[in-house]
């Protein structure tokens, strides 16, 4: 205990210990891997090699980090206000569907410089609208935004299934999926790489969210509501308006992520578009300590793990789903480490 007591006072020692505790995720996962009859060292080595071994792996990581980062940034704004939006998955789906609808209707008829911004805006608007109901019900009636936003995920999921099966289905295919986006409605790639400009938008949003949180009156208000809603109310802040605003903004970010994923990676929509990024982003926001740059780091870490899992699967035969467990244990041990090292007030 003496060591921990002393380290609490020293910021460097404190962070080192938090990182050490966080990395307990590896031995815990290792034990499970061992029980399944696989060599854990080999498994982790192949995970790392798959994640960072090639240039292609690194560009795949950046592609996957893009939606995770965007959704995570939106959640930071909501969570800072103590509004627990866990409906990002549905908001992401809504944004993606809004974008592809515009893209399929007008793709090829109007120039890229017009249709791409319109599709992105459509994604933002649809994502925000999907978050409106939980926000309003929370602000006006005090209903749990957690439950309502989560229920909306399932409504979105089946909405997606319907939309790709009937209204937007490509009649030339047997399977329920939309047609491919016209080339003019796709996000261009950067300098011949596989990374699209959505990546740059996501990076720009890191700075945007940092700015909103710390340099605007709105950011101050939402943090005030988050730390003590009744005190904020007393200080003249309109709490209801803050609640609806942060829901709309976090929905907008998830919607933008959905639009960018459709326009930069898939180029069509099918049921598989609902890929669980909205849930992974919850972990990313927590691991990033609700700090935009922390979220940037966490999004890259988690994306790298997912990319590495493919290689691990082929190398040692462990299912890719293992990385989601690793991600959850990383966040759990990070919370444990932070709690143990928390300074006594």
């Amino acid at each position: 205990m003496g060591l921990i007591e002393k380290s609490r006072e020293n910021p460097i020692a404190r962070n080192v210990l938090i990182i050490l505790i966080t990395s307990l995720s590896l031995p815990i996962t290792g034990i499970i891997i061992l029980l399944l009859g696989v060599n854990p060292i080999q498994a982790f080595a192949s995970l790392l090699e798959g994640a960072f071994g090639t240039m292609r792996a690194i560009s795949e990581t950046a592609r996957l980090a893009t939606p995770l980062l965007l959704i995570g940034l939106g959640l930071v704004i909501a969570y800072r206000c103590q509004i627990w939006n866990i409906g990002a998955e549905g908001q992401y789906i809504a944004g993606g569907l809004g974008a592809i609808w515009i893209g399929l209707e007008w793709g090829g008829y109007i120039p890229s410089a017009v249709i791409i911004p319109v599709m992105l805006i459509m994604g933002v608007v649809c994502g925000a609208l999907w978050a409106l109901l939980p926000g309003l019900l929370k602000a006006r009636l005090g209903l749990s935004e957690i439950v309502v936003s989560l229920m909306m995920n399932f409504v979105a999921l089946f909405g997606l299934a319907y939309i790709v099966r009937i209204p937007l289905k490509n009649p030339e295919y047997y399977l329920p999926q939309t047609a491919q986006l016209d080339l003019s409605a796709r996000l261009p790639n950067l300098f011949g790489s596989r990374i699209h400009i959505g990546f740059l938008i996501a990076i720009a949003c890191v700075f945007l969210v940092q700015f909103i949180l710390w340099k605007t009156a709105f950011g101050y208000e939402l943090r005030a509501v988050g730390s003590n809603a009744s005190a904020a109310e007393g200080a003249g802040i309109k709490v209801e308006r803050s609640i609806v605003s942060v829901m709309l903004i976090s929905g907008a970010f998830a919607g933008l992520a959905g639009a960018i994923q459709i326009m930069g990676v898939y180029y069509f929509a099918a049921q598989g578009f609902a890929s669980g990024y909205g849930y992974t982003a919850v972990l990313i926001a927590i691991l990033g300590q609700l700090n935009p740059f922390g979220v940037l780091f966490a999004a890259f870490l988690f994306a790298a793990l997912v990319i590495g899992a493919d290689f691990m699967h082929r190398a040692v035969g462990l299912e890719q789903a293992l990385v989601h467990f690793i991600q959850a244990t990383i966040v759990m041990f990070f919370l444990i480490g932070s709690a143990i090292m928390r300074k006594k007030d």
Partner: protein, 316 residues
């Protein structure tokens, strides 16, 4: 389309019989969360606890060939998750929302990973025999009522006593009194010489056991198989039903049966999907009903006063 089929007796009776069955997993989870929340801890991890309980139940029932061992395994798995939740939220005082969200992703990912790794993904998933129906003599012969309520499996009959025992424990025992005090005025309870943390540990672990059992009953007692995403939001539905039932086990039964009916309608009407009413609308139904159920409940009125707040002896 044979809409008139929907109005036939046989269809309606089997609809409600299935509604009772489908209400059970959610009911168990709701009862578990009521106990947990009455002690002052809000455990958001239900979805994850149900998923890992569903997997453990299925796996053990598959290996042993005995559904009851599977159910026991799912309850024990629930206890372990409850212990973890207690340690995170009570001992370490980690924000209960964050701890719960982590538990959701932990349980879901572990359940799905282990299933894929051990059983593989194939076109025809491995199956076990679900619990057989045990019609109660005489009672099951009552028209309509008999088939709906008294031709269920053994486990379904056990639920009502469980709910009654819980109701009695909460309202008429010393432990129940301490439980409620721990959620209302923990500082007074501590002053009176009771260990608040211990009461909360007990409540969270017992509650989580019921939640895990709910997941296990879905896969072993009912479906006879595990599929990815099998819990499909039932953990979150239970969270809504806790509010709907105003932390009252009796009202929880009504809430769960409403959900079970929506779920049952969804299962049966999918086949009636058409150009006019796509079947996806029916699939959405249970979730929309849940939002509506939440709307009918006055959220803040009956919530335990100290719900969601961690407790330190020093802070008195």
């Amino acid at each position: 389309m044979p809409w008139d089929l929907l109005l036939r007796e046989a269809f309606i009776v089997s609809l409600f019989a299935a509604a009772i069955r489908l209400a059970m997993p959610v009911l168990l989870a709701t009862l578990g969360e009521i106990i947990t929340e009455l002690s002052g801890v809000s455990n958001l991890g239900l979805e994850g606890i149900m998923t890992i309980g569903a997997f453990a139940g299925f796996a053990i029932a598959f290996v042993t060939g005995n559904t009851w061992w599977g159910l026991l395994a799912s309850a024990i798995t629930g206890c372990v998750m409850g212990l973890l939740m207690s340690y995170l939220s009570i001992s370490l005082k980690i924000d209960q929302f964050l701890a719960g969200l982590v538990l959701v992703l932990l349980g879901s990912s572990l359940g799905n990973f282990l299933y894929r790794q051990i059983f593989g993904l194939s076109g025809s998933p491995p199956r076990i025999d679900p619990l057989p129906a045990m019609p109660i003599p005489y009672l099951s012969d009552i028209p309509y009522i008999g088939e709906i309520f008294f031709s269920q499996s053994m486990f379904v009959y056990l639920i009502l006593p469980i709910a009654l025992i819980l109701w009695f424990t909460i309202n008429h025992t010393t432990w129940g009194l301490k439980l409620r005090a721990s959620g209302e005025v923990p500082s007074a309870l501590q002053s009176a010489g009771t260990n608040v943390s211990l009461i909360r540990y007990e409540a969270v672990i017992l509650g989580s056991a019921l939640v895990g059992l709910g997941g296990g009953f879905l896969t072993t007692g009912q479906l006879g198989l595990y599929i990815e995403g099998v819990i499909a939001g039932r953990g979150w539905v239970a969270l809504a039903l806790v509010i709907f039932s105003r932390w009252n086990p009796g009202l929880a039964i009504i809430g769960a049966v409403i959900f079970g009916t929506a779920d049952s309608i969804q299962f049966r009407l999918q086949a009636f999907g058409s150009e006019i009413i796509p079947y996806e609308i029916f699939l959405m139904l249970p979730y929309i009903i849940t939002i509506l159920a939440l709307l009918t409940a006055g959220q803040r009125l009956s919530q335990p006063t100290s719900l969601g707040q961690s407790f330190s002896k020093e802070e008195r």
